[in-house]
C-alpha cells in the first residue's frame, strides 16, 4: 500500500482537524513574518484623527464663503470620509478636491482672503494626513504605534502651508496699493517657473 493511499483515508474528510495549520499559511511564503496574519491593513487611527480635524477646520473656513460653499465642502467631506475609512485613495483625492472646491467657491462668493488661504491649507493638510494614514496602514498595520510619525509629518505640512500663506499674504498686502491683480498673476507665474526649475 502506498503512503498516499494510506494518508487519504483519515483526516481528509474531516476538513481541517485543528485550528491554525502552521504549514498551510506560513510554509510557502518566505515573507510570511513580514505580512503577519494579525496585521490589520487599515488606515491608522492617528492619521484618521488628524485628517478629520483638518477637514473640519477646512469646512469651518468655508463657512466664511456662505452656506452654498459650506455645502460643497460637506459633500467633499463625505466623500473624503468614505475614502479614509474604506482605504480608497481615489475617493480620498476627490473628497479633498471637494473640500478645496468648497473653499474656492467661497472665495468666488467673496470670502475674506485669509479664510480662503487657511481653508486651502487645512484641506491640503487633511488630504496629506489621509494619504499618509492610508500608506501607513498598508505598510505598518493599524496596531502599530504611528502617532509620532504622523503628527510630525502633519505639523511639518501645516508649517509649510502657513509659511506659504505668510509670504503670499505679505506680498499681496504690499502690492495692493498699485495693481494687485496683475502683480499677483505675475508673481504666480514667476513662482510656477521657479518651482518647475526645482524639478530639474
Amino acid at each position: 500500500m502506498s503512503a498516499t493511499a494510506e494518508a487519504d483515508d483519515g483526516a481528509e474528510d474531516a476538513g481541517r482537524p485543528s485550528g491554525g495549520l502552521d504549514g498551510d499559511d506560513g510554509g510557502d511564503d518566505p515573507d510570511f513574518h513580514r505580512t503577519d496574519k494579525e496585521i490589520t491593513r487599515q488606515p491608522t487611527k492617528p492619521g484618521i484623527t488628524i485628517s478629520v480635524v483638518a477637514a473640519t477646520t477646512a469646512s469651518v473656513f468655508a463657512l466664511f464663503g456662505g452656506a452654498s460653499a459650506f455645502g460643497v465642502t460637506m459633500i467633499g467631506f463625505a466623500i473624503f470620509g468614505f475614502g479614509l475609512l474604506g482605504a480608497r485613495r481615489d475617493l480620498l483625492d476627490f473628497g479633498a478636491l471637494g473640500l478645496f472646491g468648497g473653499v474656492a467657491f467661497g472665495a468666488l462668493q467673496g470670502a475674506p482672503v485669509l479664510s480662503v488661504l487657511l481653508g486651502t491649507v487645512a484641506s491640503v493638510v487633511a488630504w496629506d494626513a489621509g494619504g499618509t494614514a492610508l500608506s501607513m496602514g498598508r505598510q505598518m498595520g493599524r496596531e502599530t504605534s504611528t502617532s509620532r510619525a504622523e503628527t510630525v509629518h502633519a505639523l511639518v505640512g501645516t508649517a509649510v502651508g502657513l509659511v506659504a500663506i505668510g509670504l503670499g499674504y505679505t506680498i499681496y498686502r504690499a502690492a495692493s496699493g498699485g495693481q494687485p491683480m496683475s502683480a499677483l498673476i505675475l508673481m504666480l507665474l514667476a513662482v510656477v517657473l521657479l518651482v518647475s526649475g526645482l524639478r530639474l
Binding site: 485550528g19 505598518m140 505640512g157
Partner: protein
C-alpha cells in the same frame, strides 16, 4: 504608492552608509547575545539593501494650483490667486525632497536567549538615528524569525527621530524549538514631504536558540518487553530480584539461600522462592514528523511536533536515568536514527539531534516520502527486544495503523499523543471524535495510548494514564 524607481538620483547611495568599509567592522561584533552596536565612522548598522522610490504622495497637488489659479485669473479674485500660490508652495515642498540619508544603529535584546520550548521571550528593539538629519517619517519593521509567532505587542513602529534620538519598541514571541535567526530589520524612511521613500534592510544579528529541555520530570511507564540485562522493568518471570514472585518445587541445583526454610520446618517439603525478575528495556522513541503532524490547536500555541520533540527530550533523559537503553527514530522524509544506547555521550548526541536535526525543524517538510518504506526500514533497524514509544497527535488513520503494525511485529507500542484537536467548528469536532475513536481502537488492540491534553504537563498525563493500566 507606485514602485517606480527614481532615475539617477535614486542611485545616490553615496548619501547612505552602504560603504563596504563599515560592513566588515560591524560584522565582527555580531554576537550571539543580540548586540550589534554602532561602529565605523558613518555610524549605524550596515545596510544590506536599499531601494528608493517615489511615492506619488503629492500627485494631484497641481490640481489645486491650476484650479485656483485658473479660476482666480478668470474671475480676477485675488484670494484664489493667493490660494494657488499656497498650492505652489506645497508643490515646491513636494519637489525639494530627496531620498533621506539613513544611518541607524539597532540594538535588539532578548529577555532570554536560551528559553525553553513554549516560553515567552520579550524582544526589545532600540533604534538610534546616527545620521545628521532628522528622519521625519521612519517606519521600522522587525524581522521576526518565520517560525516564531508574536504573542503580544507589535514588531513594528513608525516614528520620527532627530539626530541622536532613539526609539524603542517591544514585543513578545513564543519560543519554539530550534535555532531562530532574526532577519534584517526593514526600515522605510520618507523625506519630510513624503514624496520619496527609501526602503532599507539593516543588518542585525540576533539568535534565539531553544533547545528542548532534557530534565527528568516524568516516570515513564514501560511495557513488559525487556532485554536480557538487569534493569528496572518488572517482568512476569521469576528469578533473581527483590520482589516476591512465586514459590516452586525445589530442583536440584537451587541455591540454599532461596529455599523456603519456614515451609520446610512446617511440612518437610523443599520449595524454592522466586523473585520477580527486573530487566532493562530497550526503547525507541519514534516521532511523527509527517507534514500532517504539524497541527496546532490554535494560533500562538505549540504544534504537535514541538510538543512531541519536547516530550521526547524528557522521556529520553528519564529513561536513561532509569538505566534503560533509548534510541530515537522518526517517520519523516529525512532519515532520523539514533540507535538505542546509554551513557552521557549518548545523551549529548540525543540532545544535539533533538535541537538541530533538520528533519525536526519547526516548519513542516512537505517532501513526499513513502511511509511504507520508512516503516519497513525502521523495522529492520529496531533491535528485536525494542519497544516503541510513538509520539504522534494521531491525526489520521495512517499513524494509528503504523502503531498497530509495529505492535504486531513484536515491538510493544506505547503511543503518547499530544492532543491538538479543537471543537470550535463542526469539522474540528469531527476530527476530535475521529481521534478519540482511533485511541479507543488502539487500546482495543492492546496498544497503550497516553492522551496528552493541551493544558497538562507530560508527567501529569503519564501519571493519569498509568492509573488505568493494571500491568
Amino acid at each position: 504608492m507606485s514602485a517606480e524607481a527614481t532615475g539617477s538620483e535614486s542611485g545616490s547611495a553615496s548619501t547612505s552608509p552602504t560603504d563596504r568599509g563599515t560592513q566588515g567592522t560591524t560584522d565582527a561584533s555580531t554576537a550571539d547575545a543580540a548586540e550589534a552596536d554602532a561602529t565605523g565612522e558613518s555610524g549605524g548598522n550596515p545596510i544590506v539593501s536599499r531601494t528608493d522610490r517615489v511615492t506619488n504622495h503629492w500627485r494631484g497637488i497641481s490640481a489645486i494650483v491650476f484650479l485656483a489659479g485658473g479660476l482666480g485669473v478668470l474671475t480676477t479674485t485675488p484670494s484664489l490667486l493667493l490660494a494657488s500660490l499656497v498650492g505652489v508652495g506645497y508643490l515646491a515642498y513636494a519637489r525639494i525632497g530627496s531620498s533621506p540619508t539613513v544611518a541607524l544603529s539597532i540594538q535588539r535584546s532578548l529577555s532570554e536567549t536560551n528559553p525553553a520550548t513554549g516560553d515567552e521571550v520579550e524582544v526589545t528593539v532600540t533604534v538610534r538615528n546616527e545620521g545628521d538629519s532628522t528622519l521625519v517619517d521612519l517606519r521600522l519593521i522587525d524581522g521576526v524569525p518565520p517560525a516564531l509567532s508574536v504573542s503580544d505587542g507589535v514588531p513594528r513602529l513608525a516614528t520620527s527621530l532627530r539626530p541622536g534620538a532613539s526609539a524603542t519598541f517591544q514585543y513578545t514571541v513564543l519560543a519554539r524549538r530550534g535555532r531562530h535567526d532574526f532577519d534584517h530589520l526593514l526600515a522605510i524612511a520618507r523625506d519630510p514631504a513624503g514624496s520619496v521613500e527609501s526602503e532599507i534592510e539593516i543588518e542585525t544579528a540576533t539568535t534565539l536558540t531553544c533547545t528542548p529541555s532534557l530534565d527528568t520530570t516524568a516516570v515513564v511507564p514501560l511495557r513488559a518487553q525487556t532485554s536480557q540485562y538487569v534493569g528496572r522493568v518488572d517482568t512476569s518471570t521469576g528469578g533473581d530480584g527483590v520482589e516476591f514472585f512465586s514459590t516452586r518445587e525445589y530442583q536440584p541445583g537451587d541455591t540454599l539461600s532461596r529455599i523456603d526454610w519456614n515451609r520446610y520446618a512446617r511440612d518437610r517439603e523443599l520449595t524454592t522462592i522466586e523473585f520477580r525478575e527486573e530487566r532493562m528495556a530497550t526503547v525507541v522513541l519514534m516521532l511523527d514528523l509527517r507534514a500532517e503532524a504539524y497541527k496546532q490547536a490554535e494560533e500562538n500555541s505549540l504544534h504537535a511536533v514541538d510538543r512531541s520533540v519536547d516530550a521526547a527530550g524528557r522521556l529520553f533523559t528519564a529513561l536513561l536515568e532509569t538505566g534503560d537503553r533509548v534510541g530515537i527514530a522518526a517517520l519523516s522524509p529525512e532519515d532520523v536514527w539514533l540507535a538505542p544506547g546509554t551513557g552521557n555521550e549518548h545523551r549529548a548526541r540525543a540532545r544535539e539531534l533533538l535541537a538541530t536535526h533538520p528533519a525536526l525543524s519547526p516548519t513542516p517538510n512537505e517532501e513526499y516520502f513513502s511511509i511504507y518504506l520508512r516503516r519497513r526500514k525502521l523495522r529492520e533497524r529496531l533491535p528485536a527486544d525494542a519497544q516503541v514509544i510513538l509520539l504522534s497527535p494521531l491525526i489520521d488513520d495512517t499513524i494509528a495503523r503504523t502503531a498497530r503494525l509495529f505492535d504486531a511485529h513484536g515491538h510493544l507500542v506505547t503511543v503518547i499523543s499530544p492532543d491538538v484537536t479543537n471543537d470550535d467548528t463542526v469539522g474540528h469536532t469531527v476530527a476530535r471524535i475521529q481521534r478519540r475513536n482511533r485511541i479507543s481502537d488502539l487500546r482495543k488492540h492492546q496498544v497503550r495510548v497516553v492522551d496528552w491534553r493541551r493544558d497538562e504537563s507530560l508527567a501529569m498525563a503519564l501519571e493519569r494514564t498509568r492509573t488505568r493500566w493494571s500491568q
